[in-house]
């Protein structure tokens, strides 16, 4: 029973990391590419298809497909109310990536936001990933 829940925890950790990394890198790549593509406020789907010709946009979309699939796998055993807050650590990672690679300024309010997210993630990560189907609580 104990090895079973330990295995579930490890599997949950691995998939959480996969979900977070594919999401952060996917959004980063998409945002980077879209800055070169220009405004997409158009009714025609052609504008979106053309945007896919940009390699950064294409890489971003591929990573976001990986994100969708790993997110689905994670939800097959973990609670939505667990997955949602825990994967939000990606926002912190995105801010760090912006600071390190894009030299974006991080204001005091943003640092406070980052601190709140980290605290929230730590709180939720301590609960058992599964409660709905007799997973029990720690």
């Amino acid at each position: 029973m104990d090895t079973r829940s330990a295995a579930l925890r490890l599997k949950t950790r691995v998939f959480t990391i996969l979900v977070v990394l594919s999401n952060v890198l996917g959004n980063f790549s998409l945002s980077w590419g879209l800055r070169r593509v220009g405004s997409l406020l158009s009714v025609s789907p052609l504008a979106y298809i053309e945007a896919l010709g940009n390699p950064w946009v294409a890489l971003g979309v591929s990573l976001l497909i990986l994100w969708l699939l790993s997110h689905m796998a994670l939800l097959s055993w973990a609670d939505l109310s667990y997955v949602l807050p825990v994967t939000s650590i990606g926002y912190v990672l995105a801010a760090v990536v912006g600071r390190v690679f894009l030299h974006e300024h991080i204001s005091t309010a943003r640092w406070a936001g980052i601190l709140l997210i980290v605290t929230g993630v730590a709180l939720v990560a301590r609960t058992a990933p599964r409660t709905a189907h007799g997973g029990g609580r720690r």
């Binding site: 959004n27 998409l30 945002s31 879209l34 593509v37 220009g38 405004s39 997409l40 406020l41 979106y48 945007a51 976001l64 969708l68 997110h71 689905m72 796998a73 939800l75 097959s76 055993w77 609670d79 939505l80 109310s81 667990y82 997955v83 949602l84 807050p85 939000s88 926002y91 995105a94 801010a95 912006g98 974006e104 204001s107 309010a109 943003r110 406070a112 936001g113 980052i114 601190l115 709140l116 997210i117 980290v118 605290t119 929230g120 993630v121 709180l123 939720v124 301590r126 609960t127 409660t131 709905a132 189907h133 609580r137």
Partner: protein
Amino acid sequence: MKWLLVGVIVAATTLGEVFQAVAMKRHGEIRDFRPGALGRLLGLLARNRLILLSVAAMAVSFFAFMALLSVSDLSFAVPATAATYVLETVLAKYLLKEQISRGRWAGAWLVACGVALLSL
């Protein structure tokens, strides 16, 4: 225009993720990660109505997000989605019958407030 896009993103993301969670819970825990088994799983999921509905909602959310990114910064676009945390936790409690302990509620609110602060 920006805020209309935010509304579309929040509604579509919430619906998409809740449908996805319901469908995956009904399917049950994925244990076999060999390529053949994953291929069969994809085939099965591609015919699941809830998954199709969820993917459609997430596609709407994704294209609205792309449109928002093309007219605003990532630092406006990302925090605008904070409302989904609390909304989805409520739906997880009532639709998915998950036990939301105090730690989880506190976590969901902290994350939502934190995400909202990121835009400042």
